[in-house]
Point group: C2
Chain length 422, copies 2
């Protein structure tokens, strides 16, 4: 039974439109779970350990709903191509290196160490098709105290030999063995990860669908990122009504188990109709969608339709791990979409992207992303004293500008499930 | 006579398309001017002082062609409005505070200290309408070793009382007195700064135009940022063919003295025609143009037409001072424009935005922005060792990813006109 309190300026989302701000207050963590926020320590908690963070901000940790760990090695590079050419020319080239476990160790240590320093406390992560390298990544994340879902990627067509599973049956067996070996981890869990429809044969999808039902696993994949990709899917699956329906046909679209679909830049009415009322999370990755010239996702529509939306860094089509930056770009891109493309889709507000970064994506992990009673205790302590101003700023304003100005150095402390990471 | 060399991996633009990369080479500074880049120290320079920066990158300093120093106080805040409402609700409110010299001192010290830490070595800066505060800013910049053009802002209509010059004659006299007092500075120079047409009466423009001719001053202002602004200009100046022509009518459009026009998001054919072949610099401010929902400037067209383009942070419609970030956003926004708005305008490449950040904007200051012989010696030494990678990266790749990943902490040393700033 471990109970402690943090004291500071506590901020979290009540809902998409409203922030809850508690100045000079206490947030209590009891066995890794939030026991509420109080202006003074309640009677029952008198005498518990308390860290006083003074005027620092205490906010929920961020969830990164979409990140490719092996691609971190070439972050910030190779942004001169669109999706399909980029996969061929950059992503697939790098991912083949992870058959070498020494290389994988070097690369995943760097990824994990940098993720620890970042504002991210939860992540849904793509590995590669390599079982050993993916288990190594999971081990590193577990040791670092991370909560994450990690996927051994499945792909058996339209990809280079070094990444291509040649036999759908064997692919499913390999995946099942990987799932079994994931039992050793407490905090890091497996997630079924068909790369995307163009790289997964019907038979592979069928077999993965069986695994999904057998183990009740969540799914992560890509959806409607790029027009050429969509056209290719319609060609590969002539009977499908839309790209999303191709996943739905295999029960991998959030009807039973939760599913994360990254991008959804070009999701039309029919696809959006399929998404509604499901355990389906859109991973909105605005930087990636700009870098690969994909476009700007209709996030306003997703929110209006009640579809769950979180943010993704999408390393390495996105360049950095910062979810703060994803928040800023989500707002900025929504403004450009409103100005240039569709005047009906009102720009996103700060409160909305802060919600996406915390509760929106956090919901994928359960009660995660705020300091209400019963939520798992993921927290960031932010020291913004070097962001100087000639006048006084309210806590709300200090929080808002972080979206644009926060760097890793501003994170003074980080807690995941009540455990202090640094 | 001060001569020294820096050793490291030296990179600069030859032109918009080509980078010049010299690994483990020497760049020589002679009395503040570059004396060339050499693989070994030439005979004539044997024995000069040399700082060996090992495998660090040495690149030209960046020019920020458009930044409002007084607005730095609310950077990252108030991004919920479009231009005209934002000016009224945020910018003008803050700028009125600079009548108080104590406030100005606090604010401008913060601005100057942060600018010193940034990658910027040259800047064209808006102050406020207040002479004393503007001189104080210039003094701080001069003391910090900065090369900059700073403008005391002129505005005599459509603005709040605290900022409004009530008499065009007096405004011109005040400006002339300010120009005289600027003689005390060696590195920081005055630039004529009519805020923008909506805030400057015809008489004020006429009188400023006289000052410009008398003193041969450069000019900085705003152009075609926002549709409502443009409509307003056409209403205020019914006889003008386009917004740019309103400046041109007073000789403030780069025909005699150089002029910087910030934004140019909605410049049409006629305006672009006016810009061509002039000493006119477009200050492209992609973050600002996203934050205020202005749109995306047709930079590809400007480049194709041979118009000079540099980058601007446009604090505080832009949130931060980083010209690296302006480079990344310039590329990203150009991709979105190409995808969404105009498939004829090909996205900007890394080499092009690096050119804009260095030689493009630097040209406003003369021979500035590269390490060719005769160029003024502005240099940044970049330590990117914490951007770890499992494999080796070429110097070119290390340079390219900085566009996305560089933060102030990566700047290991900074030189302006040969003087080491840190």
């Amino acid at each position: 039974m471990e109970v402690y309190a943090l004291k500071g300026n506590i901020c979290y989302s009540l809902d998409k439109d409203e922030l809850s701000i508690h100045e000079n207050s206490y947030v209590i963590c009891e066995n890794g779970v939030c026991a509420g926020v109080y202006p003074d320590l309640p009677e029952d908690y008198r005498g518990i350990a308390c860290t006083d963070y003074g005027s620092r901000l205490i906010i929920p940790g961020f969830t990164d709903l979409h990140v490719h760990a092996p691609q971190y090695a070439f972050r910030g590079l190779g942004m001169d191509l669109e999706l399909l050419e980029w996969l061929e020319g950059h992503a697939f080239v790098e991912e083949q290196r992870y058959s070498d476990l020494n290389y994988a160790k070097r690369a995943y240590e760097i990824f994990t160490e940098d993720l620890v320093k970042s504002a991210t406390t939860r992540a849904c992560i793509f590995g590669t098709v390599h079982t050993e390298a993916t288990l190594l990544l999971m081990e590193l994340l577990e040791k670092a105290g991370f909560k994450a879902c990690v996927g051994r990627v499945n792909m058996d067509r339209n990809c280079p030999e070094g990444l291509c599973e040649t036999d759908a049956l064997k692919a499913a067996q390999d995946t099942e063995r990987w799932i079994a070996r994931c039992q050793e981890f407490q905090q890091v869990k497996p997630i079924l990860t068909p790369r995307f429809i163009p790289a997964c044969s019907d038979e592979l999808m069928r077999r993965l669908s069986e695994l999904q039902k057998r183990y009740g696993l969540p799914v992560q994949s890509h959806l409607s990122e790029n027009q050429a990709e969509i056209a290719w899917v319609m060609e590969l699956c002539p009977e499908t009504a839309c790209y999303g329906a191709a996943y739905d046909g295999y029960g991998m679209f959030g009807k039973g188990s939760p599913a994360i679909m990254a991008h959804c830049v070009h999701s039309g009415e029919e696809e959006i109709g399929l998404m509604k009322g499901r355990k389906l999370f859109v991973a909105h990755c605005p930087e990636s969608n700009a870098n690969l010239s994909s476009g700007i996702a209709p996030v306003r529509t997703f929110l209006d339709e009640g579809i769950k939306v979180g943010l993704g860094s999408d390393i390495a089509a996105g360049s950095g791990l910062s979810v703060f930056r994803a928040m800023a770009l989500a707002v900025q891109c929504s403004k450009l979409k409103w100005r240039i493309e569709d005047g009906n889709l009102k720009p996103l507000k700060f409160s909305e992207v802060f919600y996406m970064a915390t509760r929106g994506g956090g919901e994928f992990f359960g009660n995660v992303g705020c300091f209400e009673k019963g939520y798992e205790f993921d927290a960031l302590v932010i020291n913004d004293t070097d962001l100087r101003s000639p006048g006084e700023l309210t806590v709300r304003k200090r929080l808002e500008r972080l979206m644009y100005l926060a760097e890793d150095k501003h994170i003074a402390a980080k807690y995941i499930c009540g455990r202090k990471i640094f």
